[in-house]
């Protein structure tokens, strides 16, 4: 599949989904009746037309776009790392408030560092701990931002 074709399909799908959601918005009882819907209609239509045009552009052999190269097989390890880093990031978001800043950040940094900087456990542990402690020192202590306090932070005198 070409890059134009995939982008075109995404554009049409998003445009349709968006326009239909806009249609389902409650009608305004008063004021300008089209109000909050008119702009989404225009944008949704533009997206759908753009998508169709992208797909049609590929019919012209001279303008045919190149094949989309995701490289799932060739760059398998890169894709796995991206997936794992993303999942780690999302989990970091889910636990930061309850676990507290320092521990969650240090663990997050350690996992990300291991995924990128493979096999250097000691180096990565140092990076993770320093990152967590220094950023906490700068932002929570020096700049006085209120960062999530877990049990570790509550034991600190500041």
């Amino acid at each position: 599949m070409t890059t134009n074709f995939i982008t075109g399909i995404i554009s049409i799908a998003l445009g349709l989904f968006y326009t239909i959601t806009a249609m389902l918005l409650p009608r305004m009882a008063m004021g300008d009746k089209l109000g909050p819907k008119i702009f989404p209609y225009v944008v949704g239509t533009v997206a759908i037309i753009t998508g169709i045009a992208l797909i049609l552009q590929d019919r012209n052999p001279a303008k045919k776009s190149k094949k989309a190269e995701f490289g799932f097989a060739k760059y398998k390890s890169v894709w796995i790392r991206i997936a794992l880093i993303s999942i780690t990031g999302i989990i970091f978001g889910l636990v930061i408030d309850s676990v507290g800043y320092m521990i969650s950040t240090a663990v997050f940094m350690f996992i990300v560092a291991i995924l990128i900087n493979k096999n250097r456990y000691v180096q990565n542990l140092i990076i993770a701990l320093l990152f967590s402690i220094i950023t906490y020192g700068v932002f929570a202590v020096a700049l006085k931002l209120s960062l999530p306090r877990g049990f570790l932070e509550q034991m600190l005198p500041f």
Partner: protein, 496 residues
């Protein structure tokens, strides 16, 4: 003239304190360091350094941000010169002659002329900015909703027509950005739109989260392929970071010619540093008596694009500060940083908060001077950082990006959003969908929609209003012309 000097004096009063100068140093060095990292450009630098301004008073924060922005501009070409790897697209041209100079053992000269040219380009750009911003802002003050909408339309269209790449993919990027901008409570009617029952979407999507996603997380993902690359350079033979009198003479006119060119290109939306640097390089090569020397390490070939790039970044501040329209990814990030500090760039900034508008301008001037001081004597120690391998830098960028996102609103759902934005940005880079139009559309979306609807209310629903108002009609014609130009240009390229 008199009022401009008075205003500038007010700006200097705001900017010129001991604390601020210290922060200009710190921000300038940090910006230079991040702008310098191979593969990571100024946009990423500004995006991940936003948190350092938290807790500062607004004036200091602004000045620090301006220094970061400027530092990133100065730093961008260091990697081009030393290791032939541009930090971002606008530093590509600096590789052409900068790297051959390094190979010829003249790295010191290259680093020096790059800093000097950046300084001169920046200074000339600032002077133009000082004289141009007030008149533009005053003109824009008279804009009604119809003019505002047409201006936004022109800015968005210009972003995709003036840059390279597929027009339709750019249009898709804009449409997606506009869609994202409509999520949350509608400012005009109070209706909740496109939240799909998620309470975290009620306040809309914070565009800074998307910016950090596509400029920090996406960049980390893109660089994962090359983490094992080790950059090597010989730091013993950099030489003295200075230029001789002859070398300066040789670069003098190219710098002076490229600066106005870069500035004008910077003012136009969508034509960022990449086009400015390529055009100034082509211009110098054309008028040079020795065009064959270009690409082989001639000093003009480095001085011209460096001056053009920094003048361009000043030009980009004109629409940013006076109209609230960022012209490039980096200025979009800068706009985000300003808005976070409570500064809403736009025509009223110059009338309602002249001390802030002129404070930013004054601090850019101070930043420019301090950065050339940083970049000459500290050039050699700073470039040593290029040796830090990607596999150590990338986790740090990822970490700074994520904690920076969290600090914006202390919202853990923003962390999920920033990851999604990063993954989508990475997929888009494979599909060759440009990301700056999306970011711009997301930022300009609510103003675009509100001015569109207010115009229609004024005209009882007739879109003719956009053509009846003369200024509005001019912007629509400009948008149409830039679209036609792009179509013709691409047809010609296809025919070749």
């Amino acid at each position: 003239m008199h009022t401009i000097l008075m205003n500038l004096a007010v700006g200097f009063q705001t900017a010129f304190t001991f604390t601020n100068i210290v922060w200009v140093f710190v921000g300038g060095i940090l910006g230079t360091v991040i702008g310098m990292l191979p593969g990571l450009g100024p946009a990423t630098g500004v995006a991940i350094l936003i948190p350092i301004t938290f807790g500062m008073n607004p004036a200091t924060a602004l000045i620090t941000m301006a220094a970061v922005y400027y530092g990133a501009m100065f730093g961008g070409s260091r990697a081009s010169i030393m290791i032939n790897t541009p930090g971002d697209a606008s530093a590509i041209v600096s590789c052409f002659d900068g790297y051959p100079m390094t190979k010829a053992g003249k790295a010191g000269t290259a680093l020096a002329i790059s800093a000097i040219a950046s300084f001169i380009g920046g200074m000339i750009g600032m002077i133009f900015l000082i004289f141009l911003s007030q008149p533009v802002a005053s003109a824009a003050l008279k804009f009604g909703p119809a003019e505002m909408f047409s201006l936004m339309l022109f800015a968005l269209v210009a972003t995709i027509t003036l840059s390279e790449g597929n027009l339709l993919k750019g249009l898709f990027s804009i449409a997606l950005g506009l869609m994202l901008s409509t999520i949350g409570i509608d400012a005009l009617s109070g209706t909740m739109r496109f939240t799909y029952g998620l309470s975290s979407l009620q306040d809309g999507i914070d565009f800074l989260v998307i910016i950090i996603g596509v400029y920090a997380v996406t960049e980390v993902y893109k660089n994962l392929k090359s983490i094992d690359t080790v950059y090597k350079f010989d730091s013993k033979h950099i030489g003295k970071v200075w230029v001789t009198k002859d070398e300066f003479k040789q670069s003098f006119w190219p710098m002076l010619r490229s600066s106005p060119l870069g500035f004008v290109i910077g003012v136009l939306p969508g034509m960022g540093g990449t086009i400015a640097t390529f055009m100034s390089y082509a211009m110098e090569k054309n008028i040079s008596k020795h065009p064959e020397k270009f690409g082989k390490g001639t000093i003009e070939g480095l001085a011209a694009p460096e001056a053009a790039n920094n003048a361009c970044s000043c030009g980009a501040l004109v629409p940013l500060l006076t109209l609230g329209i960022p012209g490039s990814g980096t200025t979009a990030v800068m706009l985000g940083a300003l808005m976070l500090l409570g500064v809403r760039p736009g025509p009223t900034l110059f009338t309602d908060h002249p001390e802030i508008a002129w404070g930013v301008i004054a601090s850019m001037l101070i930043g420019n001077i301090i950065l050339v001081i940083i970049n000459l004597p500290l050039a050699i120690p700073l470039v040593q950082l290029l040796r830090v391998p990607q596999r150590i830098m990338l986790p740090l960028i990822m970490g700074l990006g994520l904690i920076g996102t969290y600090f914006l609103n202390y919202s853990s759902s923003d962390l999920i959003l920033v990851i999604i934005a990063g993954v989508v940005g990475f997929l888009f880079s494979i599909l060759e969908v440009p990301l700056p139009p999306l970011v711009l559309a997301l930022i300009l979306g609510s103003t675009t929609e509100q001015s569109f609807r207010n115009s229609l209310v004024l005209s009882d629903g007739s879109p003719a209003i956009f053509f009846q108002k003369p200024i509005s009609a001019v912007f629509i014609v400009l948008a149409a012309v830039s679209l036609a130009y792009a179509l013709i240009k691409r047809k010609r390229q296809a025919a070749k």
